[in-house]
Amino acid sequence: MRISKILFFLSLSVALNPIVTLAVAENNLTAKEIIAKSRLAFYYAGDDGRAKISMELINKAGQKRIRELTMLRKDYEEGGEQKYFTYFHKPSDVKDTTFMVYKYPDRDDDRWLFIPSINLVKRIAANDKYASFVGSDFTYEDVSGRKPDEDNHTLLKEEKLSGKDCFVIESIPKGSSEYTKRISWIDEANFLPLKEEFYDKQNELYRQFEAQETKDINGILTVTKRVMKNIKTGHRTEVVFQDIEYNLGIEDSIFSERYLRRPPLEWIR
C-alpha cells in the first residue's frame, strides 16, 4: 500500500517534470518562487495595515455566529517578523478583548491576551498553528501565513479561474502538517491566491478557500471577501474586510502591554 503510494508520487513527479521546466522557462519563476511571491502579496501587503474584519461562522444548519474585529499589522522584514494587534468588537461577551502576536519566521509566536473583565494581561502559549482562529474555519496559519520552504511545490498547470490566468500549484508538506496536499490557484497578474484546496490523509478534499472579491486599495490589490468551507462538516466562514488602509506609519509602541490594556482608539474604530 505504502510502496504503491510512493511509486504513484514518483511517477507523478516524473510525469510533471517537463511541464515544470516549461513553466519556468516561460515565466522565469519556479513554483516555490510563485508561492513566496503569493505569500508576500497576501500577508505582507504594504509596510503596515489595518482592516475591520467581519467573520460569519455558519454551521450546516445555517446558524450564524459573528466575530467582528479590527486588526493592525506591522511588518519588520519583508517575509519575516511581523506584529499583530487585534481588538474584538463582537460578540458582546468578548468586546474590548485585545490580542497581540509577535510573529517570528523561525520560532513560535509570542502571544498576549487582555481580559477586560478582570483587567488582566496574560501571556498565552502559542497555539498549535492548525488550531482554529476564534472558532472559525480558518487556522492561525491561514490567518498569518506559512513559510514556503515548509512544503515541496510543483507547478501543475496554468489555467483560467473566473476569467483570470492562474498558476496551479501543488504543495506537499515536508514534515507533519494539518493537510497532506494543498492545491493553490494563484493569479498570475498579482500573485493573490484565488482558490486553495486542502486534502487530508485519505487524499480527500476537506477544506476549500475562495477569494470572492478583490479590490485595489491605494494601489495594493487586496482580497476583501473570502470564504473557507469545511467540506466534511458543512461548516463555513465568510469574511469581509472593510476600512482597509496601508502604510499608515503605525508606531512600534502600539504593539505593547500599554495598548492591550487601553486599545488605541484612533486605530481601532
Binding site: D93, G135, R258
Partner: protein
Amino acid sequence: MDKIKILLLIIASLIFIPMANASELSLHGFLQTNYSVRVNDDNPQGAKQGNLILGEERAQLKASFYPQKSKIGAFVKSDFYHDWVEEDWAFDFREGYLDLMDDKFGLRVGRQIYTWGVGDLLFINDTFPKDWEAFFEGRPLEYLKIGADSLKLDIYSDKVCAEAVVMPFFEPDDLPSVGRFHFFDPYPNIPNRELEKPDSAFEKFGNMEYALRLYRYIGDFDVSAYAYKGFFRSPGMKADNFNSPSVISLFYPELAVYGLSAQRSALGGVVSTEYGYYDSLDDKSGNDPGINNSQSRFLIGYQKAFPDDFTVGIQYYGELMHQYSQYEDNLPSASAKRKELHQYITLRLTKLFKYQTVKLSLFTFYSPDEEDFLIIPEASYNFTDNLLGIIGMNIFAGAEDDTTFGQHKKDSNIYVTVRYSF
C-alpha cells in the same frame, strides 16, 4: 426605594440604548442566573436555605463613553441582583472610573479592578481585594476580583512603564462566610468578635495603601517589579490570652510586599516565575500568634498548547515562613500548625470542541504539606454568541478539618450559570 432604583435604571437604559450606536458610547451587559448547591446535606450552622449556597438572578450593565479625539473617557459597570439565600435585592457597583489619557501618562480615578502577577489563580504580588467566597461557590471568574476605590497613574516611557496606585479606603477580601460555608475555628466558644477595619486615609493618612508596578519587555521576557504597602486582607486576631481567651477581636495587620515576576516563551510553551517578600510590619519578630509571620512566596509555572485546542498548565507555589521557631514557640494549642514551607501544585487542563463552542476544563489545587485539594471540573457551551451555559463543581477534600481546603470539605458544590449577553 429599590423599586425607584429599578425604574431609574430602566429609564436610563431607554435613553442610552438608542445612543449606543454612536461609536463613542457603548452599552452592554448581561442577564445571568447562577446557582450553587452543596452536594451533601451536612449544612453549616446558620445555613439559611439548606443546601443552597448561592442562588441569584443578576443583570449587569456596562457603559463606556470615550469621545473621539478627546483625552477623557468614563466607564461604569454595575450589577443589580436578587439573592435567594438572603432573600434580598441589591446593587453591586462593580467598577466606575474616569480616565484621563495623554501621550506619556494616564490617570484613572474611581472603582477599578486590578490583576497583577503571572500566577494562574495564585496571587503573590497581586495584593488587591478578592472575593474567595464567590470563587468557591462557583461564580464566574470575574467575581473573584473586587474593585478598589483608587487612583491609578500610568507612566509610559521607552525605558520602563509604571502603574502607581493609591487606595484611600481599605477593602478586605471576602472569605467564606457563616451560613454559606463550614470553616475551621480554633475558638468556637467565643462567637462574638469585633472586627476592626482600618479607617480611611482621609481620617488617618497613614492608612493610605500604595501599590507600584514597574514593567517592561526585555529580550523576550516580560519583567515586572512590584511594591505594596498596606494591610493583610484577611484578618489577624487579638486575644487577652491565646491559649484560653475570653475576648477575641479581629483586625487587619499592616503589610508590605516587594516582588518580581518574569515570563517568556520557552520549552515550547510559556514559562512564568514570580517572587514576593511579605513583610509582616506588625509582627517583625514573628512572636505574635495572631499575625502571620513574614514570608517569601514564590511560584514557577509552565503552560503549553497542544493540537486540537488542548492546553495544559502546571504551577508549583511555595510560602516559606521566616521566623518559624518563633512561630512554633508561640503557637496556641488550639491553632492548626502550619509547616515552615507551605506548598501548592496546580494543574489546569482546557480542551475546546465544536468550533470552540464547547469547553471542558479542569483546575486543581493540591497541597502536599496540608494534604488537601480543590478540584474544579467545568463544562461550558455557547448555545449562540449571546447565550452561554456553564456547569461545574468545586470539590473540596482534605485529610484534616483545619487546612485551607480541608475545612470546606463538606462544602463541595455543583454550580450552574446561564448568561445572556447583549
